[in-house]
């Protein structure tokens, strides 16, 4: 009896000890994570971003923390949320308290604006259409390029299996689709031919993942398909993760992918974070941040930095979304991606 009682005490003791150790560890980590010493409360910012920016913003946030503390004496902690661009925009519309949004394409921020959370001129408030860094769409193939893929027409070969995200669900993937469309239109000068071309291309897609990161994983980790149609920065990241296993093929014509950024006016007004949120976006255009972007494989918009990194980013003919071929996002969304639009027509047949 006595023995059992003492066993019970032992267990409680060990339990409490473990709990104590856990709390201690947690407090230690909290203390370590707090920005460098200094007085004053910490401001928190939430940056709702898309899939392919994780690595970039992890580096940028550290840089911004230092910059902001030096500039204003205020400590700032940035919480980041990653996911498919459209889904992320949606969570902000539904009440996710994002101070800033850094998404894959302008229409996702426009939809937040249409919900009344930010002002209509958001794209004019920062340089370069509020896109501090850009990218383009390239092909990632396995080492040695066994299918001999050089340019867009090679993707139509019967033996080619493409992995790419679904443009209906992944904002990033809309750029992929539009890149193919841009090539075909510039090449054949006919909408009908472009439609045929893109239809054939998507017939070669074996895995149509819902997000761009899912597609990357499917291709690189699980060995599906022989070409991944993806953003340049994503492709470079894969090459960095798996040195020597993959090659990047830059096509002759592609699209200029412009991921947009904005401060969410109604949230920063409510949380009193307008100044720091605006600085967070503005600082993206600084030379330091542009370098971080380039190191994380985004094409910098700052000409000097771009010049310094020009070896990393091959020159190619880049079509923009405002090219007469597309006529801006509003038109493209309606024509290509709306329900029953061109993408549905060419992919709908299954």
């Amino acid at each position: 009896m006595y023995w059992q009682k003492s066993k019970w005490w032992w267990r409680l003791g060990i339990g409490l000890l473990l709990l104590g150790a856990y709390i201690g560890l947690y407090q230690l980590r909290l203390a370590q994570a707090a920005p460098t010493s200094g007085s004053g409360a910490t401001v928190t910012l939430t940056n709702v971003s898309y899939d392919s920016t994780r690595e970039f913003y992890q580096a940028y946030n550290q840089n911004f923390q230092k910059y902001w503390q030096r500039k204003s004496g205020e400590k700032v902690a940035v919480a980041i949320s990653n996911g498919g661009s459209g889904k992320q925009a949606n969570t902000v519309i539904e009440g996710n308290q994002a101070d800033v949004v850094t998404l894959a394409l302008a229409p996702d921020i426009t939809s937040i604006q249409q919900a009344g959370l930010l002002k209509a001129n958001w794209q004019q408030r920062y340089p370069d259409n509020a896109a501090p860094y850009t990218s383009t769409v390239v092909f990632l193939v396995r080492k040695g390029n066994p299918q001999q893929i050089r340019d867009w027409p090679d993707l139509l070969k019967p033996a080619v299996n493409i992995v790419t995200p679904n443009p209906k669900t992944s904002g990033g993937a809309r750029w992929n689709y539009l890149a193919a469309w841009a090539y075909a239109s510039k090449k054949y000068h006919s909408t009908e031919k472009a439609r045929q071309f893109v239809r054939k291309l998507y017939q070669n897609v074996t895995v149509l993942d819902s997000g761009s990161r899912d597609a990357t994983t499917t291709f690189a980790e699980n060995g599906q398909g022989n070409v991944l149609l993806t953003w340049e920065n994503e492709a470079k990241l894969v090459c960095q993760q798996h040195p020597g296993e993959y090659e990047i093929i830059t096509p002759s014509i592609s699209i200029k992918a412009e991921p947009s950024v904005a401060v969410v006016d109604s949230v920063v007004a409510q949380r009193n974070t307008a100044t720091v949120a605006q600085a967070y976006i503005q600082h993206l255009y600084s030379v330091k941040a542009q370098k971080i972007a380039a190191q994380n494989f985004y094409r910098p918009t700052n000409q000097k930095v771009a010049q310094a990194y020009r070896k990393e980013f091959p020159a190619l003919q880049l079509v923009t979304i405002n090219d007469p071929l597309f006529g801006g996002w509003a038109k493209v969304q309606k024509q290509h991606f709306a329900n029953g639009g061109i993408f549905d027509q060419i992919y709908g047949g299954g």
Binding site: G86, N90, V205, T206, V207, S210, N222, Y347
Partner: protein, 274 residues
């Protein structure tokens, strides 16, 4: 008098209030929101959303996958329950404990691990490639994920029944000349059939709704490997709430009808058994 004999035990209002509060807050209120927003869609659009060709294909994929998984799991569930209740063997407790893992392993972890395992370079995928089989990123992958997630259901339904089964009757029948198959069919099957049916129903219902593990392994190709819950997720992500609501209501309606059929069947079986 009637009233007092009915509610002799104290605590009626106490338990009534707690139960109703719980049910209303957690179940009724959110579902009311779902039904109301479904109502606002309007009949014509509802019909269109619920029956466009891609959606119809997804119903088929979900139902087919759930059916195959439920059949496989019912078979193996019966086998496992039989082995666990009728035989003594080393490692029995281990087998029994392992069966509980799918209840708790997060579906995302399961999906990631299964996709890895059954992909062309995975431990198991590699073995079946020479046979010309593909598992990950095909319909087979969906079935595997469904099997994993619902593995314990049938076993745990049948186990207690088999444990309580008094085999002396069967033994007697055997000595009186009944063959093994006759005994199984005439004496054992009727006993376990209700549990088997309800296990099948549980597995099927859970498979239809499963999302987390399947998305990682399915390949998610429209018309081929796209399940209905994923379409709901897509619509949510595209901010198409009315579309998501319509699909959710169709799925709910289907699982209600299905569980009603299963319940009635089970009741009928139990009544027949007496």
């Amino acid at each position: 008098m009637q009233q007092t004999s009915k509610r002799l035990i104290p605590g009626y209002y106490f338990s009534l209030v707690i139960t109703l509060l719980g049910v209303s807050l957690i179940v009724l209120l959110p579902f009311a929101a779902l039904v109301i927003s479904g109502w606002q869609v309007g009949a014509q659009q509802f019909w269109q959303e619920a029956t466009n060709s891609r959606v119809l294909a997804s119903y088929l994929v979900s139902i087919k996958g759930a059916l195959v998984a439920a059949i496989i799991n019912t078979g193996f569930g019966l086998l496992l329950a039989w082995v666990l209740t009728q035989y003594e063997f080393p490692g029995k407790w281990l087998l029994d404990s392992l069966l509980d893992l799918p209840f708790a392993l997060p579906t995302a972890v399961a999906g990631i691990a299964l996709a890895y395992l059954f992909s062309d370079q995975g431990w198991l995928g590699r073995l079946v490639v020479p046979l010309g089989w593909k598992i990950s990123y095909t319909f087979n992958g969906i079935v595997i994920a469904m099997i994993f997630v619902t593995l314990p259901f049938v076993v745990r339904e049948i186990q207690p029944v088999l444990e309580q089964l008094d085999f002396s009757v069967q033994e007697a029948a055997y000595t009186l000349g009944g063959g093994t198959s006759t005994i199984l069919r005439r004496l054992v099957l009727p006993e376990i059939l209700p549990a088997l049916v309800s296990g099948f129903g549980l597995v099927f219902a859970r498979c239809l709704g499963e999302y987390g593990s399947i998305v990682f392994i399915a390949g998610n190709q429209p018309y081929h490997t796209e399940i209905t819950p994923l379409l709901i997720m897509f619509k949510l992500e595209a901010h198409d709430y009315s579309g998501a609501t319509v699909l959710a209501l169709v799925m709910l309606l289907f699982s209600f009808t299905f569980s009603f059929i299963i319940h009635s069947w089970q009741r009928w079986l139990l009544q027949r058994k007496g």
